[in-house]
């Protein structure tokens, strides 16, 4: 009964949030005079095979981004620098892989490692500033985001090649590319080979967080720094390690598309995933399973947004609005469910204690 209640309560947040978001979005569409029926008919049309593949590919990148953000959140670190970390990491990996210093799969492995190290180091700068100088990681990472974008553009201009009016790194050799995996029948394209990294990272995140001493220390330090310090946990070290881990995972975000789709860093690079990841982590309550849910919803919304525009003539901005509404709904729903939970706990404690005192009176 108690377990059932707890499961129901934790499911209540996302369900409540989605229902609220659906209502608000519908009201908004009606208010601005858009085609509400068209909106829902497109949103509820099941994606075709190719679109399902797109959703999985986009979702896996969002999942990695969500986990990267969640690692920081668990430690009470607001790493909003995932954006800059994965951008720089993607460029470094593409640059290295395109250089072709080594060939074949070794090139791929080294490039992915370079991406992780780049992401970790870039996040590490903010981490070091935080633990040694007390610079807020929010300020540190947001500044590093700006620097990362400019650094990449500089390096691209200096060392990239031109195709038409666009600048790009040299495409990587055929032997280092990862084939797409055709899991979904009837789709003309397949799932990016490295998308399985999302699964690996998800499982690792879950195991480390739940079953290791490190994971316990991370959660403890995130829950209460003073209590953790009293328990002998080096909080500053945990903060730095959490930043490094967050950055390393951030470095992976662009790897699936890089090795199976774009093969170089250029116009095809997708910015913005780092910021979306924050919302995804929030939707998933920093839980490895919950983040799957968050990433899937966002990937689905983006895919439908494209169709919405063409099929129903509704501006794609409504999708951004819907995403924003969902995030806000989650915040509100979380507060409501939390309040309900506290009340019901208080009530049950009160019931039990009054029952005990009643028994005492009888005795």
């Amino acid at each position: 009964m108690d377990l059932l209640r707890r499961v129901a309560l934790s499911l209540a947040t996302p369900v409540l949030a989605l229902v609220a978001a659906a209502l608000v979005t519908t009201a908004l569409l009606a208010l601005v005079g858009e085609d509400v029926g068209g909106f829902w008919s497109v949103m509820s049309t099941p994606p075709n095979a190719r679109q399902q593949v797109n959703i999985i590919n986009a979702g896996s990148a969002l999942y990695l981004s969500g986990v990267a953000a969640a690692i920081g959140f668990r430690m009470n670190l607001f790493n909003i620098g995932v954006e800059g970390q994965y951008g720089l990491a993607a460029f470094m990996a593409a640059w290295f892989a395109g250089g072709g210093l080594v060939s074949g799969p070794l090139n791929t492995v080294l490039a992915v490692l370079i991406a992780m190290v780049t992401g970790a180091l870039w996040a590490g700068i903010a981490g070091v500033l935080k633990v040694t100088r007390g610079v807020s990681e929010v300020i540190g990472t947001i500044m590093l985001n700006a620097i990362s974008g400019l650094l990449v553009s500089y390096l691209l201009a200096k060392y990239g090649t031109n195709i038409g009016v666009s600048q790009t790194t040299t495409p990587m050799p055929e032997s280092s590319r990862i084939p797409e995996v055709g899991i979904i029948p009837g789709a003309s394209s397949g799932i990016d080979g490295l998308a399985f990294l999302a699964v690996v990272v998800g499982v690792a995140y879950w195991v480390v967080l739940t079953y290791t001493r490190f994971g316990f220390s991370l959660r403890a330090a995130g829950a209460s720094e003073t209590a953790a310090a009293a328990a002998g946990i080096d909080v500053r070290r945990m903060a730095l390690v959490a930043m490094l881990a967050s950055g390393a995972i951030a470095g992976l975000i662009a790897m699936p598309s890089l090795f199976s789709d774009t093969f170089a860093y250029g116009t095809g690079f997708q910015p913005g995933l780092g910021f979306t990841g924050i919302a995804v982590a929030l939707l998933g309550r920093n839980h490895p399973g919950g983040i799957v849910f968050g990433a899937a919803i966002f990937a689905y919304l983006v895919d439908r947004g494209t169709q919405l525009n063409v099929l129903a003539g509704i501006s794609p901005e409504i999708v951004s609005v819907t995403q924003g509404i969902i995030v806000l709904s989650v915040v509100v729903a979380y507060a409501i469910v939390q309040r309900y939970r506290t009340r019901s706990e208080q009530a049950s404690v009160a019931r039990r204690s009054s029952a005990t005192s009643a028994k005492e009176v009888l005795a």
Binding site: F275, V310, V327, V331, Y334, A335
Partner: protein, 364 residues
């Protein structure tokens, strides 16, 4: 206490994400642009039996009074003269090539032919999609799609922006009293640098000692928002230049350029702005008009119209269709009559470019 902090954190995240999503920003501009455009939204009312044109814009889309609106003017003309019907689709912020591909596919699936991507970022997407739809023609404005794939139904529409920019550079140098002129570009990618290179060459051809102040709104190639949807940034840049005595400023920054017009409207008489892509005198407010010297015309409308017509007639040129001075694909506008006294001189330079006596440098 901890709960409070958590909620605070989530709120902060929410705001952040909202800001990030709302990145397409410039909301007031978009809104007003869309509102005015909605009243004459030709695609919603067109019902002819001519070609079905699918137009896919980049982020921001229609309402920039410049590049995208010029493409729209092209389909308006096609609706008028070819009995065309049309559909417009617009990009979301921060897209991947896959999403752009889906947009082109969605248009092709809905029976549109031709499908036109407005902006070079559609190049990889069009190159990937064209082979799957052999009966549909795809074109990319400013594109390099044909460098990525060779299909007979894949066309790039290319504009010699450096030639048109050369002419407004000549105009700027002739009209500048201070000997200092300016250029504001969205970003320093090769597409926009082509405008700068031509502009500087034209100005130096008139006055080799002229001082050209060049500024880019961002050097981050992936930050299209700061580059092309950033009127506030362009306004600040322009005010800085005007302070330094610059009296003619040319912009190649799409919607951001509207900030330049605001800046010159506040400046004294004799401080000029030069528009880009469309004849921006026509869409400007009255107090801005008296400061808009000319506009460098990049006839995206001609490109879109001609391509649609060629598809309808069944005689498509390719793989790259280039528009330059010789076919009036680029040029300069004379609305307002501020160039009446120097028009002959500018046209003299134009003739030299057409005849090949003057070779205009380009960025790439």
């Amino acid at each position: 206490m901890r709960k409070l902090r958590n909620i605070g954190l989530m709120m902060a995240a929410g705001t952040l994400v909202l800001t990030a999503c709302g990145g397409s920003g410039s909301s007031d501009d978009t809104a007003s642009g869309d509102a005015s455009a909605a009243s004459n939204d030709v695609c919603k009312t067109a019902d002819g039996d001519g070609p079905k044109i699918g137009l896919a814009y980049d982020v921001g889309g229609r309402g920039d009074k410049s590049f995208n609106d010029s493409a729209y003017a092209g389909i308006e003309k096609a609706v008028d003269e070819l009995d065309a019907t049309c559909s417009e689709a617009e990009a979301q912020p921060n897209e991947s090539d896959t999403e752009r591909e889906e947009r082109l596919r969605a248009l092709a699936d809905a029976g549109f032919n031709p499908v036109i991507g407005v902006g070079f970022s559609y190049s990889p997407a069009a190159a990937a999609v064209a082979k799957d739809y052999p009966d549909t023609y795809f074109a990319v404005v400013d594109g390099y799609a044909t460098a990525l794939a060779q299909d007979s139904n894949l066309i790039d529409l290319s504009f010699a922006a450096n030639q048109g920019s050369y002419l407004v550079g000549v105009a700027a140098a002739l009209k500048s009293e201070s000997g200092k002129i300016g250029f504001i570009g969205g970003n320093n990618g090769n597409l926009i640098r082509n405008f700068e290179v031509g502009y500087v060459a034209g100005a130096k051809a008139v006055d080799p000692k002229i001082d050209v102040d060049v500024q880019y709104l961002t050097r981050d190639q992936n930050d299209g928002e700061t580059a092309f949807a950033n009127p506030a940034g362009a306004k600040t840049a322009a005010e800085g230049m005007i302070e330094k005595g610059v009296d003619v400023i040319f912009h190649a920054a799409g919607k951001s350029g509207n900030g330049l017009f605001e800046a010159v409207a506040d400046a004294p008489e004799g401080v000029w702005a030069i528009g880009v892509d469309s004849d921006q005198y026509l869409s400007a407010s009255a107090d801005e008009q008296s400061h808009i010297l000319t506009s460098m015309l990049k006839r995206v409308d001609t490109g879109v119209f001609d391509f649609s017509k060629s598809v309808a007639d069944g005689n498509v040129d390719g793989p790259v269709v280039t528009y330059d001075l010789s076919d009036d694909g680029v040029g300069y506008s004379t609305s307002g009559g501020f160039l009446d006294d120097v028009k002959d001189e500018i046209d003299g330079y134009a003739d030299k470019i057409k005849s090949g006596d003057v070779k205009v440098p380009s960025a790439s």
